[in-house]
C-alpha cells in the first residue's frame, strides 16, 4: 500500500472484483445493518410484532374488515408523510403539514359544498393552495433564512386559525360529493383490484429484470439474479395476499356487499411510485440527497440549493393537500380539527419509524408507507383494545421516541464504523 512517491508509476490492471453471490449479498446486507444502516428493518419488524400482539389480544384485529380499515385510516398520514420525507431529507422540518392539509381540505369543502363547484375544481383549488403554502414557507426558509422549525411553527398556528375562518368557526362542513366521498369510502370491484395488482407486479418485475440485463450486458457489477427474483416473488406474494384478502366479502350485512381494494390504495401506490422515481431516478432527486448530505458540497457542485430547499416544501405542502382531501373524504366533512391534533406527529412519526433520518440525507418514500402502516396499526389496535385515546397518545409517543432513538443511535454507530 505504501508505495514511495519516487517509485515509478506503473499502471496496474484493476482486478475485477468477484461477482457477488447470494451469500455475499446477504453478508453485505448484514454488515450494513450491523454498521447502523438499518433501512426499513425496524419498521418491518415492528409491524410484525405489533400485528402479532394485537392479533393475540384481540382476535377481531385480524378480520378482513379491519384489514381494509387499516388502509383507509392510515392513508392521510401516509400521504402527508411522503411529503415530509422530502423535507426531512434536507434535515428540515415542516410542523405545519398537518394544518396545511386542514386548510386545503377546508378550501375543498368551501368550494364544493358552500359554493357548489364541481369536485374537480375544488380538488384543483385545494392542490394549488398546497403549492402556494409550500412556496411561501420555502421562500421564508431558503431566501429569508428563518429556520424551518420557526416558520412552520408559526404556520402551524396561523393555519389552525385559517381553518377556523374558512369553515366559519366551529361548524362542521360536510362533503357530500359522490366522487370525493368515494376516495376513502368506496372500493374497486375485485376484478379491477386484481388486474391493477398484476399490472403493478408485472411492471416491477419488468423494470428489475431489464435493469439487471442492461447492467450485465454492459459488464457492470450486478446483484445476483436470485436476489432480484427473490424481491419480485416476495412483492408478488405480499401484494397478492393483501389484494385477495381485500377482495373477500367483509360485510356483516347480507343485503350490502362490501369487498374489493379501497380506492385510496391505488392512489397511495401510484404516488409512492411517482415520488420514488423522482427521488431515485432523476437528477432532481439526486440533488435533494446531495443538499441533505452536504449543502456546501452541493453548492460547489453547481446545484441551486435555494431552489431545492423551496421545492421540498412545495412537495410537502402539495402532499399535505392530497392528504387533506383524503381525510375530508374519509370523514365526509371538514371541521376545525381536520389535519389537527395528532395528524402531524403521526406523519413525522411515520417517516421516522420507516427509517427516514431526522438529520437529513437519508430516507426513502416507502419509509412513509411502512411507518404509516406501523402508526395505523397502533392507532387501530389500541382502539380495538378499548384503550382511552390518552393511552393511545402515550404509546404512539413512545413509539416515535423509540424510532428517533434508533435513528440517533444508528447514526452514532454509523459514525463509529464509518458506514454512512
Amino acid at each position: 500500500m505504501s508505495a514511495p512517491t519516487t517509485a515509478p508509476v506503473q499502471p496496474v490492471e484493476v482486478p475485477p472484483p468477484p461477482a457477488p453471490t447470494v451469500g455475499s449479498h446477504l453478508r453485505d446486507y448484514l454488515a450494513r445493518v450491523g454498521g447502523g444502516d438499518m433501512g426499513a428493518l425496524p419498521a418491518v419488524l415492528g409491524l410484525i410484532v405489533l400485528c402479532a400482539v394485537f392479533a393475540i389480544l384481540r382476535p377481531n384485529f385480524m378480520t378482513e374488515g379491519n384489514f381494509a380499515n387499516l388502509f383507509t385510516q392510515g392513508a392521510a398520514v401516509m400521504l402527508i408523510a411522503m411529503g415530509l420525507v422530502f423535507v426531512l431529507l434536507l434535515g428540515e422540518i415542516d410542523l405545519s403539514a398537518g394544518f396545511a392539509s386542514g386548510v386545503c381540505a377546508a378550501v375543498l369543502a368551501q368550494l364544493v359544498t358552500l359554493k357548489g363547484y364541481p369536485w374537480y375544481v375544488a380538488v384543483a383549488a385545494a392542490l394549488v393552495t398546497g403549492v402556494v403554502i409550500g412556496l411561501v414557507i420555502g421562500f421564508l426558509v431558503a431566501k429569508i433564512g428563518i429556520p424551518s422549525f420557526v416558520v412552520t411553527l408559526a404556520a402551524f398556528l396561523a393555519f389552525q386559525g385559517i381553518v377556523l375562518l374558512l369553515i366559519k368557526g366551529g361548524t362542521n362542513v360536510s362533503v357530500r360529493d359522490d366522487v370525493l366521498v368515494a376516495i376513502s369510502n368506496r372500493n374497486m370491484p375485485p376484478w379491477l383490484g386484481s388486474t391493477l395488482m398484476l399490472l403493478g407486479v408485472a411492471g416491477y418485475a419488468a423494470v428489475q429484470l431489464l435493469r439487471h440485463r442492461n447492467r450485465t450486458a454492459l459488464g457492470l457489477i450486478t446483484e445476483p439474479l436470485a436476489v432480484v427474483l427473490i424481491r419480485i416473488v416476495s412483492l408478488t406474494l405480499i401484494a397478492g395476499t393483501a389484494v385477495s384478502i381485500l377482495n373477500l366479502e367483509r360485510s356483516r350485512n347480507q343485503l350490502v356487499s362490501l369487498k374489493g381494494v379501497p380506492i385510496v390504495v391505488p392512489i397511495i401506490v401510484i404516488l409512492l411510485i411517482i415520488w420514488t422515481f423522482v427521488l431515485q431516478r432523476t437528477a432532481y432527486g439526486r440533488h435533494v440527497y446531495a443538499v441533505g448530505g452536504n449543502r456546501e458540497a452541493a453548492r460547489r457542485a453547481g446545484i441551486n440549493v435555494d431552489r431545492i430547499r423551496i421545492s421540498v416544501f412545495v412537495i410537502c405542502s402539495f402532499m399535505a393537500a392530497i392528504g387533506g382531501i383524503v381525510a375530508a373524504s374519509r370523514a365526509s366533512s371538514v371541521d376545525a380539527n381536520t389535519g389537527g391534533s395528532k395528524v402531524l406527529l403521526y406523519a413525522v412519526g411515520a417517516a421516522v419509524i420507516g427509517g427516514t433520518s431526522l438529520f437529513g440525507g437519508k430516507g426513502r418514500i416507502v419509509d412513509a408507507v411502512l411507518g404509516g402502516a406501523v402508526i395505523a396499526v397502533i392507532d387501530n389496535g389500541m382502539g380495538l383494545l378499548g384503550r382511552s385515546s390518552g393511552f393511545t397518545f402515550v404509546v404512539t409517543g413512545l413509539v416515535l421516541l423509540l424510532a428517533a432513538s434508533v435513528d440517533a443511535l444508528s447514526r452514532r454507530r454509523a459514525a463509529a464504523t464509518g458506514n454512512r
Binding site: 431516478r281 440527497y289 456546501e296 458540497a297 437519508k362 464509518g418
Partner: protein
Amino acid sequence: MSATPLLELRGIDKSFGPVQVLRNVDLTVNPGEVTALVGDNGAGKSTLVKCISGIYSSDGGEVLFDGRPVHIGGPRDAAALGIEVVYQDLALCDNLDIVQNMFLGREKRSGLVLDEPTMEQMAAETLAGLSVRTVKSLRQHVSSLSGGQRQTVAIAKAVLWNSRVVILDEPTAALGVAQTAQVLELVRRLADNGLAVVLISHNMNDVFAVSDQIAMLYLGQMVAQLKTSDVTHAQVVELITAGRSGGLGLAGDNGNGNGKRDTQTTETTTSAGADA
C-alpha cells in the same frame, strides 16, 4: 519553457472590507507541471484559489487562459474553462456513493432519467486511468472510505470533465504517511497526463516531492515563483515566513519599499520577471 502558460494571473487584488487579502498577485501555471502554491496561514492561498474558481470575484487584475483574457464570474465559468478545484474540506456528500459524487451537479441523463450505467462506466474508466485500485466498489458510500480514498474520489471527480487545470487545496493535510504517498503519486500522474496542476500545501516535503515550480505567498503578495530545482527547502521557508531570502523575494524595508517583489534575481522564472 513551453510557449504560453495555460493559466496566467496578473495583478490580482482582493479585499474584504478594509482588509486587503491579495495584493497585486501574479501566477503562472503551465500544462504538464505541478505548480505548488505555498504560504503561511492567512497568506491568501485559499482566497486566491477562490478567485480562480469563481467563488470570489477579484477586485482588480486580469486572468489569462490559454493566452486569452477571460472573465470568471462564477464556479460554472471556471468549470466551462476546464478549471476544477478539489477543496480542503473535500466537498463530497457522505450519503452518496462514489459514482453519484463524481457526477454531482452534472449527471448524465437519458431523457428525464439518470443514466446510471453510463456514469458508472465513465467513473470506472476515470479511476482506472488514474490507476486507482483501492476502492472495492463504485457503489460504496463515500462515508465508508478512508481519507486517502476520499481524496482520490475528489481528485477523480475533478479529472472526469476533461479538465485542464486542477487545483488541489491541501490534499494531504489530513492523511497518514501511506495515504499521502498515494495521493502525491496521483498528483504527479495528473501532471504527467498533461494537466496543469496547482498544489496548495503546507508540507514542504510534499511540495518538493512532486512540484515543478513553487509560488510563494507572503501576506497577500506573491514573493516569488521559482523552479523547484532552483531553490532549497530553507529558502522557501524563509520566503514564506519573512517574505525574502537573500536576493529573493520582496525588497527590504530600506529598499524601494513599494512592496513590489525584487525582479533582478536571475533564478526567477519568466513569469516572475515578466513585468520587469
